[in-house]
Amino acid sequence: MTTSTNVVPVYSRRTTLRLAAAALAAPFVIPALPSAEPKPVTPVATSGRWERRVVLVELRGGNDGLNTVVPIGDRAYYKARPRLAIPEASALRVGQIPFGLHPALAPFQAAWTEGDLAFVHGLGYANPNRSHFRGIDIWNQATDAERLGSDGWLARVLRDSGPPPSDLLAEGIIVGYGSTVAYGGFGPLQGSERVLAFDSPEDLIRRAKILAPAGERSGPPALARLESARDGIIRAATALETLAKRSKIGAGFPNTGFGRQCAQAARLICAEAQVPFYKLTLDGFDTHAGQLDRHRQLLSDLAGGLSALRAACIQAKVWDRVVVATYGEFGRRLAENDSLGTDHGTSSVHAVLGGKVKGGMYGRHPDLTRLQDEDPVFTTDYRCLYQSLASDWWGWKGRFATAAPVRGLGLIRA
């Protein structure tokens, strides 16, 4: 099976024009470029890793990747979706390539034009699981489908990352408290001990007041652990209080749950909170019925929120230290169903953006005429995306345990 090893940046923006001719000459067959070895990525100096930020956005429910980055050059797509396909005419053109963006992604236009937005096609894994729960477990734990893991992949990366700076506020912050506790808990950060989950810093500051510092006493080691847990929360709340005072929520964020998550993350990042990882959640992608309207709102929320976060980070001059990536349990079935929706599928496309991201299209658009259980076969191991974030960006030296070795996508600029 073609998987990870021939992951190449197919449509890096710099090669767009050169490739356009080839793409147009061979319409409907998305040009499978020769499986050139990816250019070795200049390793990122690990010393600066704690200054870098990763913002993961879970697209909960399974986003319809084909209606997100629309394969306008692919006849099989239009054939399978007579009523749901995004017409070529309404897709946002992003260069002379056989893809267009869903019109609701218009807020992404600036990021694309300025070259710091990338899309990775065909992300998935072998023997795909179509259960929401198992599916997101697999993505959270970065395991093969047959292997049940336990810790989240970011927690494992953190464990190998050396001593954190003394002013570390948290290893990760999960914005959107309600979305965290059940079902997989802290997601990619599961197993990490210093994770905070809240709707806003003020929310945690208020709640932490219940924990009173107390007198000294001797006791078993477990007591010391409790004391350190309590002090950790109080410290975090105190640090957040200082940060929260000096950072205001910027304008331009959508007035939605996800928009507010983006605003809170941007606020902390821009205030230089010492937190490497953030996780946001946009829920509602399980579009079995009446997909068109719902999906438009979701994508508009996604692009609006992330673009506002980008703008805020650019203004605060921290965008070069931030990478944002989306992920989710699966994509959706190629063929539309009779309820104007799509059922659970397998692979999907995901977005990566950041000041140091080499914009463009990566991975390979799956062949929509060769289906396995009604779904196209994934082209790019999803851990290639993680490897890019963990190694190329965060300087992790480890490798994900995969049947076939994976490597980063080369989408981080040195």
Binding site: R134, Q190, G191, L196, R225, A229
Partner: protein, 506 residues
């Protein structure tokens, strides 16, 4: 050993001290010891239990706990979980889904699927509430501690297994063998329908082995990491082929046509093994199973830190007693390690322990078990939903991130009467997710008295004056409070107790 007289009234907390003076010196446990034993083997300490155990010697107390261990639940299960029709109901559910998916794609199918999902969500909620009721109401908290232990050892997740009946059956198995026999339990797990679903038994067939179950048997259930090879996993997977649920009866079967009848080589043993054969090899030729289980039980009852020598002795006990658990538990609970003063209060309570213990020790009448399920879930322990196959990691992991904060909020919610408002609701939401329970609970009903928690224990203490608060403190905390709790107001003392870190320990 002669049984000391038990002529003292069981429910007179003011007499405890006298009881201790008279009996403690002779044969009985002292207060700290009795509380320690009850905290470690059950959930919290109720004054009546303390009174009942104070006159006993260590041996008598431990033997009493072990003799009281149950094999069946004390509360009646949800109606749909009656044993007679269980197998048929499992098959029926599968048939229902087959019918739904056979319908042409469209509104009708969606409507029926939605209706079926709602039914299943209610069942999931029922199941969780039922176990919570049992945890609170059982006359033998040690039984439920062990059921929870096995649930966390042979893990399955309802969200993956999908059928509440299968999870109920598994829970029944864990109770039947709670302090039974490890070998029988391990063999039963090989034939457990919930486990078939959870670890892909159905797709493990001759010629196309799925290694999931075999791997977890080696890594988590029986042997432990580092004591087997990948080849052993592959070979064992072949031995486990063909085990599945019969679609007609919903009962476990070994499908001989899907079973791999060839020779296998497992941990150096060669032969034509089936699943039972593999387990028997592990049990009889390897000491690792006994060590692995003893380590886990040590962590549950004695200490987070392993004492390799002591654990090895426990393993020998388990092995010598042909995997009978009671002799092992007896040795653990009578060991000097268990009674070591320095170890008292040395384990961090799980959310279920913390909340169920609080409810039990205060004699609270719970009207809303769903709300309690949600509290524990929010603190990281959702019954029937361990986070993954390794189960809840326990210990300090409960405190991860703001666990302590959430737990304090949970105690405050209990203290302000959350569990006594409202009543049982039909579960709603995804997979019986009682996420809506909180708002629902807030709407209906009121607590007994504004600002006062309706608790049998508190009511009794409130009438007793100054010494009552102090008496409650020693019942609730394994270590002296810091700063000292000086109020004589029982309700204020309870708030202070819940704020004290020692409340998180057992």
């Amino acid at each position: 050993m002669p049984r000391p007289p038990r002529s003292f009234p069981a429910s007179a907390p003011c007499c405890f001290f006298a009881v201790w003076l008279v009996i403690g010196g002779l044969a009985g446990l002292d207060r700290d010891e009795a509380c320690h034993l009850l905290r470690r083997t059950g959930f919290g300490v109720h004054p009546d239990d303390l009174a009942a155990f104070l006159p006993l010697s260590r041996e008598q107390a431990v033997d009493r706990l072990l003799s009281e261990v149950r094999t069946v639940a004390a509360t009646s299960p949800p109606e749909w979980a009656t044993a007679k029709v269980l197998g048929a109901a499992i098959a029926l559910r599968r048939e229902t889904w087959r019918e739904i998916w056979a319908l042409p794609d469209g509104e009708d199918r969606n409507r029926r699927a939605e209706a079926q999902r709602r039914v299943e969500a209610v069942e999931a909620g029922d199941l969780r509430a039922w176990w919570m009721r049992e945890l609170i109401g059982t006359p033998s908290p040690l039984t439920e501690r062990l059921v929870l232990f096995w649930h966390n050892h042979f893990t399955s997740q309802l969200s993956v297994v999908q059928d509440a009946r299968l999870m109920y059956e598994q829970n029944v198995l864990f109770r039947r063998q709670a302090a039974g026999n490890v070998a029988e339990l391990l063999l039963a797990i090989v034939h457990d329908p919930a486990m078939f679903v959870y670890l892909d038994g159905a797709s493990n067939v001759a010629g196309h082995p799925n290694e999931n179950f075999a791997r977890e048997v080696m890594e988590l259930f029986a042997i432990g990491e580092g004591f087997y090879s990948e080849t052993d996993v592959r070979e064992a997977a072949r031995a486990f082929t063909g085990y599945r649920t019969d679609p007609g009866t919903g009962r476990p079967v070994k499908d001989e046509e899907q079973h791999d009848h060839e020779r296998k080589s497992i941990l150096g043993n060669k032969g034509v093994f089936d699943g039972d054969g593999v387990i028997k090899i592990l049990l009889t030729r390897e000491e690792r199973v006994a060590v692995h289980l003893s380590e886990k039980l040590w962590r549950e009852f004695v200490d987070d830190e392993l004492d390799a020598k002591a654990v090895y002795q426990l393993a020998a006990t388990l092995y010598r007693n042909r995997y009978e658990l009671k002799p092992l538990l007896r040795v653990i609970l009578l060991s000097d390690h268990f009674w070591d003063r320095k170890r008292r209060g040395g384990l961090i309570r799980s959310p279920v322990d913390l909340y169920v213990g609080t409810v039990r020790s205060l004699g609270l009448t719970v009207r809303d078990h769903q709300a309690l399920v949600v509290l524990a879930r929010d603190a990281g322990q959702f019954l029937f939903e361990p986070p993954n196959v390794k189960g809840w990691p326990g210990g300090r992991a409960w405190l991860g991130s703001q666990g302590l904060l959430i737990r304090n909020e949970g105690l405050a919610a209990i203290r302000t009467g959350l569990l006594q408002r409202g009543g049982e609701r039909e579960a709603g939401g995804m997979m019986g997710d009682p996420a809506t329970a909180k708002s629902g609970a807030a709407k209906s009903g009121t607590a007994a008295l504004p600002g006062q928690l309706d608790s049998a224990v508190l009511a009794s203490l409130r009438s007793q004056g100054a010494a009552a608060a102090a008496s409650m403190i020693t019942l609730q905390l394994p270590l002296p409070p810091a700063p000292p709790i000086t109020t004589s107001d029982v309700d204020a003392a309870l708030a202070a107790i819940h704020g004290d870190l020692a409340c998180q320990l057992r």
